[in-house]
């Protein structure tokens, strides 16, 4: 087990290194440069050159990469070109915000999705199953902003129950913040419910048809006990894997939802940094998202193993 984790972490580091190189290289392919992005299109060429010189972005790309990576290895993520703030501060803020939203979204969608999936499986082929499956999948394939706008129109504009923007005013208490986060969390629930319900349903159906479930029924166990003790425990394995892998998406992939609800999470940070050619922020954010993905999939694997003794994490498992 420990060997497995170490090996995966080692491979992860290689992936992160390659990721950082690719992102750095791709910034040189994009048109424009940081000085131009900061000074605007109407600034003189001399001004742009002076800014690039000050930032060091007029140096060869290898030199820039070397100085950036050596900073990172020494724990210094550098300073944002555009905002002139330490990157670590910006990352910390954005990650904190993203985590809050992700946790609320999970609290909403995981029980709902599992409940939906199990209900669907137990009513396989009946109308309940069809409504949950078709409804869930339709919501999942709908672009996030469509669901978001529908929710906004109903709950914020029409009923006026929830705020339009997820950015709470300064000094808002933790509990109050939930009110601001509810709409984007609901939008994410729409996106994720279908996946989770679908996977849970598949797992449950498989277990329901398995020999040991039939045995359990045959030996006279009540339906409730069969479902709790045998079906759920076994059917949730793939669900856990799906939920864990979605963490990466929730932390780093919410560009559209965060923008729609004006929320300053990692997605917006990434978007703005790419737009502004703010390389130190862009690089560190990409690394952060990479690390989150890495840890999420690793957690998924470890959880699967812990819950299912048949999976043995060893040299042959990776």
């Amino acid at each position: 087990m420990i060997r497995f984790i170490l090996k995966r972490l080692g491979l992860g580091l290689v992936t992160l290194f390659l990721l950082s190189v690719i992102v750095f290289w791709s910034t040189t392919v994009l048109p424009g440069n940081p000085g131009r992005a900061i000074a605007g299109p109407f600034a003189s060429e001399a001004t742009v050159k002076a800014i690039n010189h000050e930032l060091g972005t007029d140096r060869p790309i290898i030199t820039q990469y070397r100085s950036w990576i050596s900073g990172v290895l020494h724990g210094d993520l550098g300073e944002s070109y555009a905002q002139k703030r330490p990157v670590s501060d910006m990352l910390r803020e954005a990650l904190g915000n993203s985590l809050k939203l992700a946790i609320l979204a999970f609290i909403l969608v995981v029980p709902l999705g599992i409940f939906g999936g199990v209900a669907s499986a137990l009513n396989e082929g009946k109308w309940v199953d069809r409504v949950i499956t078709v409804g869930g999948l339709s919501a999942a394939v709908m672009p996030e902003f469509v669901g978001g706008i529908v929710l906004l129109s109903i709950f914020a504009l029409w009923l006026g129950w929830l705020p339009v923007s997820a950015s709470w005013p300064p000094g808002t208490s933790g509990v109050e913040q939930i009110k601001y986060l509810l709409l984007p969390a609901m939008a994410l629930t729409l996106v994720l419910f279908g996946y989770i319900a679908r996977i849970t349903r598949a797992g449950t159906v498989e277990v329901l048809h398995s020999d040991y479930t039939r045995t359990a029924y045959l030996k006279g166990l009540p339906r409730r006990a069969v479902i709790y003790r045998h079906v759920l425990r076994n059917s949730l394995l793939p669900t856990i894997a799906v939920v864990a892998t979605q963490t990466g998406y929730l932390i780093g992939g919410l560009v559209v939802v965060e923008r729609l609800f004006n929320y300053n999470g990692v997605g917006q940070l990434l978007f703005n940094a790419a737009h502004q050619k703010d390389y130190p922020v862009l690089e560190s954010t990409v690394l952060l998202v990479g690390i989150v993905y890495l840890l999420a999939t690793l957690t998924a694997d470890i959880l699967s193993a812990a819950l299912n003794p048949r999976i043995r994490l060893g040299s042959d498992a990776s």
Binding site: R36, A43, A82, Q83, L152, P163, S165, P170, L260, Q276
Partner: protein, 559 residues
């Protein structure tokens, strides 16, 4: 009558040549009273003085309203919190460096200008008056006394000179350099005594006060000791003091009780920073904000005609430039350029894109809002027959195919689509590509920028109080943004004369020549100049908005 003449004579004996010229123009009836107040203010005559002259000339002395602002406040009750939505600044908020619409609104929360441009009318602010020398190459500004910065230190003439010198020094990489180039060089502002600052210009300039006004949004007055870090301490002389700022998120301001002018009415100003117009309009609809800094007709359809909201409209010189490469076929023949310009139904464009909240363009940067614009130049209208005949005269009777690159912003893609459809009616087949700003501008230098290199290019230009920048950078032979690659020595000469001209009469006469020349040459199509719009909740008044983007909310009552 004799008394009046004597009074006028007394006033005139104390005025300089330029001021007397404005008085002459008014007396001769060449400018109306409103224009007299406007021009008089530019050359530094105070409102009481102008009123006295109008009275001496036998008119009623009421000053015309500028119309740049909504209803005036002042009578409102103090107290409460006002919530304002501003676009997220794309960089650190710094009066020296910032160039985006969010930053410029934030700079003006605590920062103030020497004078404010409201509909081409200059209002004295931190300067109380100004005047030029005889050829308008040296301008002297009198600085308001008794003003303190929000940390309590008094503002002096030294601070004013240092603030402007900071902007004109290339070493500071200031964003104002593009406006100051050829106008004001490094270290040309000098405090001659405690309340006077003298500006020695690179060349005579009759519109110089505009360069120190809110039009030049970087030109706020900061302490002489300022070296950066504006968004940490928010120095300035304005009606607000900052108490909290979270970059990209929000800002909180409270009333500055030491403010030299009318104190702010709300106790607190809560600013929300938003990523785009859609979320700003939603926040207004969801009652999370009271005022939105700027809205557009295309982005604010939902509230435009809703009685629950109030739209403040300011006429502006904001426009789009559709340039055609004058150095490359087929557009090296001016008849081809004229033909394309004749395919556009400008009235319909203005209705369709702006619900009429826009002026028509006549293929020169002289917007109808500029007083210098000569309105006798005939307006170009749609005329497909003439367009076709021009094409065939140019040997292009079968039409041709070409490409248009447009920037992705506001209504520009829709406008580009209209151009494509209109041109197809005379057989000109345009392949359109719409690029985001970063790609479109590229390096913003010739040879490395779709903006400056494309055969046809469509770009957005923000408001300016005077047309000088519009006339030089995109159209002069050595202009840095000359996407049309237009090179015409006669034009260059006219623009230089126009910029140096001090009195309105000669400005207008050069303007007419420039307008006529550009209408004939048509290097760039100017189809419209649209209004600057802000939105508030219904029932709120006292918002002062400039077409540049400053949004002053201190006289809005929410109590």
């Amino acid at each position: 009558m004799r008394d009046m003449n004597r009074a006028l004579g007394r006033i005139r004996s104390r005025r300089n040549d330029i001021e007397n010229h404005v008085i002459d123009e008014f007396m001769a009836g060449r400018i109306d009273r409103r224009e007299f107040f406007r021009r008089g203010a530019v050359v530094g005559m105070s409102v009481p003085l102008l009123s006295a002259i109008v009275t001496a000339c036998g008119g009623s002395s009421g000053s015309s309203s500028s119309g740049a602002v909504s209803s005036s406040g002042g009578g409102g009750k103090a107290g409460g919190t006002l919530r304002l939505s501003v676009l997220k600044p794309t960089t650190e908020v710094d009066p020296v460096l910032s160039a985006d619409v969010g930053s410029l609104a934030m700079i003006a929360m605590t920062g103030e200008f020497l004078c404010v441009d409201e509909n081409q009318q200059l209002t004295p602010w931190l300067a109380t008056s100004w005047s030029p020398n005889s050829d308008a190459s040296v301008w002297t500004f009198k600085i308001r006394q008794g003003v303190t910065f929000n940390d309590g230190t008094p503002m002096t003439a030294n601070d004013v000179a240092a603030s402007i010198n900071r902007l004109s020094d290339p070493a500071n990489k200031s964003n104002a350099l593009s406006a100051f180039t050829g106008v004001l060089s490094k270290n040309s502002a000098k405090a001659t005594d405690a309340q006077t600052v003298e500006f020695t210009l690179d060349a005579p300039n009759g519109s110089f006060p505009y360069y120190l006004s809110s039009d030049n949004y970087n030109a706020i007055i900061l302490p002489a000791s300022y070296t950066g870090g504006f968004d940490k301490t928010w120095p300035g002389t304005g009606p607000w003091k900052n108490t909290a700022y979270s970059a990209g998120q929000s800002a909180t301001f409270v009333r500055n009780d030491q403010y030299w002018g009318k104190k702010a009415l709300p106790d607190t100003l809560q600013v929300t920073l938003s990523p785009d117009e859609a979320s700003q309009v939603l926040a207004l609809q969801g009652n999370q904000v009271d005022v939105v800094q700027q809205v557009t007709v295309s982005g604010a359809q939902a509230i435009l005609n809703d009685p629950n909201y109030h739209i403040i409209s300011v006429r502006a010189s904001t426009h789009r430039e559709l340039s055609m490469r004058c150095d490359k076929p087929p557009f090296n023949d001016k008849r081809v350029r004229q033909a394309v310009a004749l395919t556009l139904d400008r009235n319909q464009i203005v209705q369709g894109l702006f619900q009429g909240k826009s002026d028509l363009g006549n293929d020169s940067p002289f917007a109808p809002v500029f007083p210098q614009t000569d309105t006798s130049v005939p307006q170009r209208n749609i005329n497909l027959d003439q367009a076709k005949s021009l094409l065939s005269q140019a040997g292009q009777s079968g039409g041709f195919s070409t490409e248009l690159v447009a920037i992705q912003t506001q209504e520009v893609p829709q406008y580009a689509q209209i151009v494509v459809e209109a041109a197809s009616k005379i057989g000109v087949n345009i392949k359109l590509s719409v690029e985001d700003g970063t790609t479109y501008y590229g390096d913003a230098v010739y040879g490395k920028s779709p903006w400056l290199d494309s055969i046809m290019s469509l770009v957005d230009y923000g408001h300016r109080g005077v047309p000088n920048v519009f006339l030089s950078a995109p159209l002069m032979s050595d202009g840095t943004w000359n996407a049309a690659h237009f090179k015409n020595p006669q034009y260059d000469g006219l623009v230089k004369q126009y910029i140096a001209a001090v009195d309105l009469q000669s400005q207008r006469s050069y303007a007419k020549q420039i307008q006529t020349l550009l209408l004939d040459e048509t290097p760039i199509i100017y189809a419209y100049f649209y209004n600057y719009l802000s939105a508030t909740r219904a029932g709120l008044s006292g918002l002062r908005a400039t077409a540049m983007g400053q949004t002053w909310t201190d006289q809005m009552s929410v109590a």
